[in-house]
């Protein structure tokens, strides 16, 4: 980058650009170079026991980290030093942004992406489209490589089951979902203890408890409609899975005909729609997640659906003794296919290596450092979020919320499930946010919800321009 560009050289370059500008397609082809060119691999080093991926020891690696709930300290203080310790000659070029998409989309469309990207936040890039466009590197060799600090184990053997599948597109692992998140209804142990309440196991217990809260002037159940309706559709589908089994979610992911019209989805929508009409505060439609979470911290809200990052996110505003606790959603009917302690749990928070980056090997090596036991442990220490690396919490003192989500996960045993359609098909995600708000806040019906979602699923299925995925 030239900093002291003279006016003259600007004009010279301008003239050059003028010539380039003649054909309309100029930009797309000209500045991109040959598009079918295989990625250059000039950053290959020698493969050794300590360097299983063959990283060139002095090659720069560029990482971009989303600056959100997890912060970026875990990268700058843990993973980058770890990489540099092994490769002292290498420079790790770090940057952070709140707007992943605004900053990185042009870099991908010009084939000059950074090497490793943390694709997250409300302005994340469509991961499915990125994979479909051939912009993401296959991580198979990373998962086959030996772990950095767990002797005798390959990286894949150190992970929580399901991690690799969660990042698999078309049969190949492209994305590392690093954080392990448990979803459920969060509440304050103190509030419950003070009132002699316990977490409900059945729907009847649930509504009785909500009535009790209402009598005390507490909004029993709340989520933020302005930017977090996604937490709520996750809840609706969790209930649907409990009623009809986890395959319902698989059918939705695979865009199977009438997957949304399954009676279990309809019933779940109906039950939650009633909760919305009866126990929720309409004002929450226009609030953002932190605002509703603050209300819960002030004991004005009973249950709040969220992932296990909640405790850390609210750390500063949580009064002493509040004690976050998570409960699995109550059983919906007496004939539920899954037990009441079944939960939605999934590896999340996407990290991927750009296939057309300058240092693909370095990008993968960076992920290997993230997946080391030490890297994972310090990540959890800094962010209070579990990782997909097994046993990485050994020796850590768990906070109340973290302990309760670990317990919920253990209670659920094999009965944990997740879905992927929301990251595969952004169009469906957008529609589901609207449909959920309509159902929960604006007097929408379960039928309407199901119809809207089926319609958008059908539209996505029929649209040949959208890359399809299956699991």
């Amino acid at each position: 980058m030239e900093k002291d560009l003279t006016r003259r050289s600007v004009l010279q370059r301008s003239a050059a650009a003028g010539l380039m500008a003649v054909p309309a397609a100029g930009l797309l082809s000209a500045c991109v170079g040959a598009k079918d060119e295989a990625p250059k691999d000039d950053n290959a080093g020698t493969v050794t026991a300590t360097n299983p991926l063959g990283v060139k020891e002095d090659a720069e690696v560029e990482v971009v980290i989303f600056n959100g709930g997890l912060g970026t300290k875990y990268a700058t203080d843990v993973h980058i030093p770890s990489y540099k310790k092994l490769f002292p000659k290498a420079n790790v070029k770090f940057s952070q942004t709140e707007e992943i998409s605004t900053v990185l989309t042009p870099r991908f469309s010009s084939n000059t992406p950074p090497d490793m990207v943390n694709n997250a936040g409300s302005k994340l890039m469509d991961q499915g489209k990125l994979v479909g466009a051939g912009q993401v590197a296959d991580l198979s060799d990373l998962f086959e490589a030996p772990s950095l600090d767990i002797p005798g184990k390959k990286v894949k053997e150190t992970l929580v089951p399901g991690t690799i599948e969660q990042g698999t597109y078309k049969g190949k692992p492209y994305v590392l979902n690093y954080a392990f998140t448990v979803f459920g209804m969060w509440y304050s142990s103190k509030l419950f203890k003070d009132n002699g309440w316990t977490a409900p196991k059945t729907w009847a217990e649930f509504t009785t408890l909500l009535d009790a809260m209402k009598a005390k002037g507490i909004t029993g159940y709340a989520y933020a409609g302005a930017n977090a309706s996604y937490y709520q559709y996750l809840v609706i589908l969790t209930t649907a899975a409990k009623i009809g089994g986890a395959d319902i979610l698989k059918n939705i992911d695979n865009l199977q005909a009438n997957a949304w019209k399954d009676p279990a989805v309809l019933q779940a929508a109906k039950l939650w729609g009633e909760i919305g009409a009866k126990y929720m505060d309409k004002a929450h439609l226009s609030l953002k997640h932190t605002e509703v979470q603050l209300q819960q911290n002030q004991y004005k809200v009973g249950f709040y659906p969220s992932g296990s990052w909640l405790e850390n996110e609210q750390a500063k505003d949580t009064p002493a003794g509040f004690d976050y606790n998570v409960a699995a959603l109550p059983a919906a009917t007496a004939s539920d296919k899954l037990p009441a302690n079944a939960i939605y749990a999934a590896a999340g928070e996407m990290y991927f290596v750009a296939s057309k980056g300058k240092n693909v090997r370095g990008g993968k090596e960076y992920l290997r450092h993230m997946l080391s036991k030490e890297g994972a442990r310090k990540f959890t220490e800094l962010t209070k979020v579990l990782t997909v690396v097994q046993g990485s919490t050994e020796g850590l003192t768990l906070s109340p919320g973290l302990a309760s989500s670990s317990k919920a996960l253990a209670d659920a045993g094999a009965n944990n499930f997740s879905f992927r359609w929301d990251s595969w098909y952004k169009k469906m995600d957008d529609e589901c946010r609207s449909a959920t708000n309509e159902l929960m806040f604006q007097g929408g019906t379960a039928d309407k919800f199901v119809q809207r979602m089926q319609a958008v699923a059908d539209a996505v299925k029929a649209d040949s321009s959208i890359e399809k995925f299956e699991r």
Partner: protein, 288 residues
């Protein structure tokens, strides 16, 4: 005459009374939100989002200003904004005035075509061309530089500037120009020595439009000054938006409002000081 006088006086009293009330109400409507933003810099998240919006903070803690200044670099961003906007406004006015002048006062082949070429840009929203624009700026090696941003600002301000200045130059009397030409002044000299000073009122008002527009620009800096190395070059709007997005996660709203206050106060002072000049600059320019 005296009856008439009385009638006018009464009318003035009524009007003045009514006027005072409505002006005061509007002033309150403006000041209330600003006052709230100022107080919020001292409040806790809970006080801001759950408390009484008219309540005073429980303690007057200036720490949020420190956080906004040092951690969020608001000071640096503020200076960056001033640098970029001064340079781009100057460039816009110079190039815009040159083009507008020639288009308004000289007859040549293609005059109308060039004029409409510029004016069509008036209807073009920047954010739709972000990716192509990004690639152009990148190809010039200007990505992440203030130079690049300044050039882009100038280019996008030209349509509006030329549109209004051309209209303005047309209204200037011919006699002075002709006299100067007879005295042997060159075209360039005529422009800088005679026409520009005569056009001062128009220039002032368009300059203000441009300063405001460019000062508030958000999408362009986000795209053209991405994070990483360029973060030290960020502009104020970016800095504030960055706190506001990360406030959504880390929830330091007090620092956000402190940053807002830091950003607002200098602008208020500058405006109050130059109010008279702005007003008089607008005076002649406006009615033409």
């Amino acid at each position: 005459m005296s009856i008439l006088d009385k009638k006018t006086k009464r009318e003035i009293r009524v009007l003045s009374g009514f006027g005072h009330v409505s002006l005061a109400i509007w002033a309150l409507i403006i000041l209330f939100p600003l006052g709230f933003a100022f107080l919020a810099a001292f409040k806790s998240n809970t006080e801001i989002f759950i408390g009484n919006p008219f309540g005073l903070p429980s303690n007057w803690d200036f720490a949020s200003f420190g956080r906004a200044w040092s951690e969020a670099n608001i000071g640096t961003y503020f200076i960056n904004s001033i640098i970029v906007v001064s340079a781009s406004t100057f460039g816009t006015m110079l190039l815009g005035a040159m083009a507008a002048y020639v288009l308004a006062r000289y007859d040549f082949f293609g005059n109308r075509a060039i004029y409409y070429y510029f004016v069509a840009g008036l209807a073009f929203p920047v954010y739709v061309v972000l990716t192509p624009l990004y690639l152009v700026v990148q190809n010039f090696g200007l990505l992440g530089t203030h130079t690049g941003l300044i050039l882009v600002y100038i280019a996008y301000s030209l349509p509006f500037t030329i549109f209004f200045l051309a209209a303005f130059f047309k209204t200037l009397p011919n006699a002075v120009a002709e006299a100067a030409m007879i005295d042997g002044a060159s075209h360039t000299k005529l422009f800088f020595r005679v026409m520009l000073p005569m056009a001062k009122p128009g220039l002032v008002s368009i300059t203000i439009f441009n300063i405001i527009g460019q000062w508030n620009q958000y999408v362009l800096p986000v795209a053209l000054l991405p994070g990483g190395d360029a973060q030290s070059k960020w502009l104020l709007t970016q800095g504030i938006a960055s706190i506001s997005t990360s406030a959504g996660y880390q929830a330091d709203w007090a620092a956000l409002f402190a940053a807002l206050t830091i950003a607002i106060i200098p602008m208020i002072i500058v405006y109050a000081l130059f109010q008279r000049q702005i007003q008089s600059g607008l005076t002649a320019g406006a009615v033409k």
